[in-house]
Structure formats: C-alpha cells, structure tokens
Symmetry: C2
Subunit: 307 residues, 2 copies
C-alpha cells in the first residue's frame, strides 16, 4: 500500500458517528474506495444519504481492505470490532488497522499486541479537531507505532489530517498525548460553562462576554467552540456529555494508577457526571452550562432541561 | 481633555510594576507627559532607568494631571492611593481617574461613588494581556462608566489598548467582565500545569506535548503562554502566584455571596494557595507545575523548589 499503488486502495471505516462520517467523506474525496460500518441503523441510513457506501458488517467492510479505520467510542468497542467482529481475519494480510478511538496507553498496547499476534499491523492513531474538521480532512492526527507501519498508513492519514504527527515507534505514546489533550479539553469545556453561567449570574450580556473573552487571556479553543453553543442555546450533540464522562474517567483512572493527583480533571469529571445524572448525558457537552443554570435558576438561552 | 487640546496632556501613572511600566512607556510614546509613582524604591529606580519620569509621591504625580491611571494590586491599594494618598485633591477638577486594578464590581462601585462625592470622574477600567502587550500599547482594555467620562479618558485609553471596550454606563460592569476572564485564566493556568505534569508522569516529551497541544482542541491562551515557562523551566515572575490567590479569591468571594457554585475556580484557587504555601507565592504563576513536580517527584525543567 503506497501512494503510487496501481489499484484503488480499499478502506473500511468502522464507526460512522459525526467524526467517522466526516473522515469517510475525506477518504472518498481523496479517491479511496470506502466501505462504512455502524451498528446503529439510523446512523447507517444517514451515512448512505450522505454518499457513503455503508451498511456492511465489520468483517464484510474489512474484507480485502488495505486499511481499517476504527472510530468507535472506546477500547472495548475497538476490541470487539477487531477481534469478535472478524476484522482481523478479513483485512488484507499486509493491511493496517488505524485505531482512532480515545483509549488508555495500556489498552492501545494490549490491542496492538493482539493484532500483531494475528499477524496484522496496528497503528495507535487518536484524533483531535471535531466533526467540522473531520469533514474537511483537517483533523490533527496523533500517531505512534513502528515507522514501517506509519509509512503504510500514511496515504490514508494524509487524507484525513491537516496536521499529522508521528510521535514515536512505541504504541501507546499517541494515546498518552491524547489523554493529556482530553484532560485540558474537558477542564476547558467545564470552565467555559462555569464562567458563562457566572457571567449570567452577574447579569452580564453573554454575547458580549463571549466576544470580549475570546480576545482576552481567558480564551481557549473550547471556550470559543463550546461557548458559541451556550450563547446560541443549542445543545444538539456534536460531542456528547458521555464522551467526557468516559475520557476524563480514563484520565482519572490512569492518574490514580500512577499515584498522580489531578484535582482539576477530577472536578471537571464530577461536573460532567452531574450533567449526565441530571438527564443530559446524550446532549452536547456544553450542557454543563445547563447544569449550572438548573442549580442556580439562571435564564440561559435554551437553558431549560427536559420536556 | 480632548485629542485636539492645545496643551500636552499630563498623566500620573500610579503603580510601576511590569504592567504599569509598559503602560507608562506606551503613554510616553503617544506624546503624553507622564509622571510615575511607586512605593517600592527598586521599582522606581528600574522605571527611571527605563526612561520614565518616576519617584513622585501619588499626590505630586497627580498634581494638575488630566488623568490618573492606577495600576496597583487591588481595591484596597487603589482606595489608599486615591483618597489617603491625596490623588483626589490633586488631580485637575475636570480630570479623570482610570482605575485598572482587578477588583470586585462592588468595590469598583464604592470607589467610583467616593470619587464622585469628591467631584472627580472615575472610569472602571480593568486590563488584560500581560506585560509584553502593555509595553506595546496592545492591551485589551475593558471599561464601564458614563459615556462622557469614557470620552474624556479615550485618548489615554487608545494609547494603551489594541482592543478597547466600553461595556456600558454602569460602573462595575467592566470589573465583572474582568472577574469572568480571571476565573478562566486562573483555571487555565492551573490546568496547563496539571496537564504538563501529567504528561511528564507519563514520560512524554514535554516540548512535543507543548507543540501538539498548542495545535489541538486542548489549547488555551494560557496553555500557550504559561506552558512555555514550564517547558523552559523559567519561573521568573511575569505575574506571580499571589496575583491568582487574590483574583480567584475575589471570584470565590463573589460566587459565595451570590450563592453561585464555582467548583473549578475553587479547585484552581486551592492549587495556587498550595503553591504559595510551598514557598512560591512571589514566583511566576506557572509555578503550579512545580507544585505537582514537588508532590509527585517529577523531574521538570527548573522544577526544584527552594535553595
């Protein structure tokens, strides 16, 4: 599998949520033959309506594929798809698994070892950037694994990434970088929500707060991105509260195992848990703002929770 | 006091720390006659060496001034300078006090009312951006107060600001915006330190982490700014730990008074307090990373604390 291969490369894209769907489109635009797979019929229908050849089971999607890109929720789903779902037996013997789900470095190492035992190459390959950048082929893609495997995967990665890193030969390094990113991303989302709710409590004009903070030292990527959802009162899920319950949970699991204190990540995790507990687990992760609104009886845009 | 006034406007700049010194230079460059005041002889000497006409007491600096810019630590120092230090009796009767210290909206209102009772105009005028931007005349300046007072102060503000906001006629509104910014800034500094120490615990290359996160969704203004201090192991104070003990203390005071929960700001405050308690109160606020290093015995650059 190289950029100059005479045949059109075949890619299985497993997991067609907002990230996976955008990545599938980027791969199609780059000229790959893409077969999509997702367990959720409504997601498959939506992907098909969006021009993706979807509806295969995992093994069928992977049959003879040069690369299998997994964009599922976590390590457990990745493991199920690859080893129970038959991907490892279906992919081309010299194909490569590009594993994009956020997981702990330990899980990444374990899954890579299982794939290697089955004779299949595996690249630790978490992603950052959100659905809009996924659709543009403009993700930040972090990878680690042997250089030869990175080289094999490179044409596929280039089609999905604006910024592509190979962070080392050791599986798990990219996963660790992603966990550091998620620690910050989760704290910043919750902080944006705390700050905007505080601003509302002080009777400030939220749109003006959003504008001023975006140009001040208090700004963050997440404040600008998720703050816009809060200002608009739009909690349709781009990325759900449950994703950060999961990701900050992994951060705290690793931190506890390493005997490392991470009080800000721990506090943010509790805020996402409270938001999920209050019935908003499947809503946009900016719903932490609605948790504050519910507690403090603030009249945020779209702030009412429930029917 | 207008831009077309025939005489050179006279400005007293009270508080010549890294922010005030930079602002004084911006005002000199803009053609104002600037007289500087600071209680600390070493700061006065340094300002004089930097070309600022400094060394006056507050009342002398303010005598006949068109504007007095106060850039001291907090509301208490601002009040002492203005009312015990004789500024209010010395400034031109139609002069304006431009109050830049971070303080609660309630304190801003109280000081403005005292100035008004003495017949002097007062503008609530907190600043954001750090010493480098202060020196360039490129601060973000937030103001609130009656439009006529804003208009009077405008030439002075324009000389210091790249981005200038007039956020309303009511004193205290700008102070409240600044508190929202400080909530985020404080949480983001502490989160950057938590994340970089966590990355070190995971044996990641910190310079690479800094580069990758700066281009990912986990980035923030503070991660990019203070993260560079951590990577360089440089804890010479641009802004000291004690500043965020103060500012997040004000945030938590307001939040408690308003019966508003702010758990992330509260956790960050505890981290700054721990860092101050461990002997780093006067060091750069990125020293929170050295607190984590001390607790977890991490070998951060410049991470050792104390002699």
């Amino acid at each position: 599998m190289t950029a100059s291969a005479p045949q059109r490369l075949e890619i299985a894209l497993i997991g067609l949520g907002s990230m996976g769907f955008g990545m599938a489109n980027s791969l199609v635009r780059a000229g790959f033959a893409v077969r999509g797979c997702d367990l959720r019929p409504e997601i498959v229908a939506s992907a098909r309506a969006g021009g993706i050849d979807a509806g295969f089971d995992a093994a069928t999607a992977a049959l003879g594929a040069d690369a299998v890109v997994t964009v599922v929720v976590n390590a457990a789903q990745t493991e199920t798809v690859l080893f129970d779902g038959g991907v490892v037996g279906a992919i081309k013997p010299d194909g490569v698994i590009i594993s994009c789900a956020t997981m702990s470095p330990g899980d990444a190492k374990r899954l890579a070892a299982k794939a290697e035992a089955a004779g299949i190459s595996y690249l630790d390959s978490p992603i950052s950037g959100g659905a809009a950048r996924a659709a543009e082929g403009a993700l930040t893609v972090l990878t680690s694994g042997p250089a030869a495997i990175f080289a094999k995967a490179r044409p596929v990665l280039d089609a999905m990434a604006e910024t592509l890193y190979h962070l080392g030969d050791e599986i798990g390094v990219a996963a660790a970088f992603k966990m550091v990113n998620q620690l910050l991303a989760g704290v910043h989302i919750a902080a944006a929500c705390e700050a905007l709710a505080f601003a509302k409590k002080l009777n400030l004009d939220l749109a003006k707060v959003y504008e001023v903070i975006s140009r001040s030292a208090g700004s963050s990527w997440m404040f600008q991105n998720r703050g816009a959802h809060v200002i608009a009162g739009d909690y349709a899920p781009r990325s759900a509260v449950e994703i950060f319950v999961k990701d900050l949970g992994i951060v705290e699991d690793i931190a506890r195992a390493e005997r490392f204190p991470a009080p800000l990540a721990g506090t943010a995790l509790q805020l996402f848990l409270m938001t999920a507990s209050a019935g908003m687990g499947r809503d946009d992760d900016a719903s932490v703002a609605r948790l504050y609104a519910k507690i403090a009886e603030l009249d945020l845009p779209g702030g009412a929770v429930g029917p």
